[in-house]
Symmetry: C2
Subunit: 219 residues, 2 copies
């Protein structure tokens, strides 16, 4: 599911309350309707949307009554900053995460395939704590990203379009590029790319060589 | 801003498109209206909501035209799983994160207060990579949490209310508690807490002593 569809779904308070309820325990339509104080018809419509999106599923009990439960893990992250608006969603169960390939991060959790209850409860506590630490770390990174982008803007004397300046500079830092290649790389029209490069060339920040545009050596 | 208010705001596609546009560059109402293909009146209403929430701000240029830009960093995280529905939002700039206090996490980034352009661009690249690694790690943790909760359910023979079982057990693991204290701790009615404890006592998972309810030693 893409993050836009997920945001559309979660943008409704009653759908959020339904998910909160189902995360506690599976429910029948009548239970949800009573708990929310919303008509069964409206509840059914919300459930339909959540089910279509794959967030919930239904089963039928011994009395042939249909009840709903949350179907799978979904994670959504949204960052809003003066330098970007990004949202992403993912299904954790498909995560092929290998911490040993991380360059900037290492984890220490006692996660082993244990089936002793006491070990499982300890693993639960550790994982919940790690989740919280990761969340704090992400806030820290987002704050530092903003600081770095502020400093880049200041260094190159960029005004309001400073995110584009930073993307341009980051793109040519390790590899000189033509205007066309840059335009495709950072998804900005050629004319604007050309204009910004000329402005930065006047400031002595970038230069054009036979290999393309690159940072000047004293930048 | 609480996460519910943020989800309400971001649940609208045109407001998301406005934020995407403003993250690129500050804009006038007419620019936004043309870009979105939406009437200036509707744009003004969206901008009002975003401004009230503190996500955007306006300034007036030399020609006294009002233009809008993103005001601050906001981060939103939502987890949906069969064991929980949680959303949280935070302002990264207020983050008092100290990585040295993390028990399960360590970071390695070359973040120093540098003002050399090349160093800044390298810091930008490192931070963006770390951001991605943290995001993958969080998906991994969410998946593992779900695995652990599945195993706990299986071990205690819990049915659909298994999250409550796990919360109960986690709460008494290190510290025996009374029904009343447990009910307050995990925010579940006393009757239900008492009923689940009795059921688990029958299975030999928990026991009642003079200190309160606790895990049985062979659990």
């Amino acid at each position: 599911m893409d993050s836009a569809a997920l945001l559309d779904l979660l943008g409704n308070e009653n759908r959020r309350r339904i998910l909160q309820l189902l995360a506690r325990k599976p429910c029948y339509v009548t239970e949800i309707s009573e708990y929310l104080g919303v008509s069964p018809k409206a509840v059914i419509e919300h459930l339909r949307k959540l089910e279509e999106a794959g967030l919930i599923e239904s089963r039928v009990d011994d009395q042939r009554r249909k009840y709903f439960h949350i179907a799978r893990n979904v994670r959504l992250e949204v960052n809003v900053s003066p330098y970007g608006f990004a949202s992403k969603s993912a299904y954790p169960e498909n995560s092929s995460f290998d911490v040993t390939t991380c360059r900037h991060l290492s984890l220490d959790v006692s996660w082993e395939g244990t089936d002793e209850l006491d070990d499982l409860l300890r693993a639960l506590e550790d994982l919940e704590q790690l989740e919280n630490e990761l969340s704090l770390a992400q806030r820290w990174v987002q704050g530092r990203l903003c600081d770095v982008l502020d400093q880049i803007s200041e260094t190159v004397g960029a005004g309001p379009e400073s995110r584009i300046y930073a993307d341009l500079l980051a793109s040519i830092r390790s590899d000189p590029k033509s205007v066309g290649k840059l335009s495709a790389d950072i998804d900005v029209p050629r004319e604007i790319v050309a204009e910004l490069l000329e402005a930065m060339a006047d400031e002595g920040i970038v230069q054009r060589t036979e290999r393309g545009w690159e940072l000047t050596t004293n930048a």
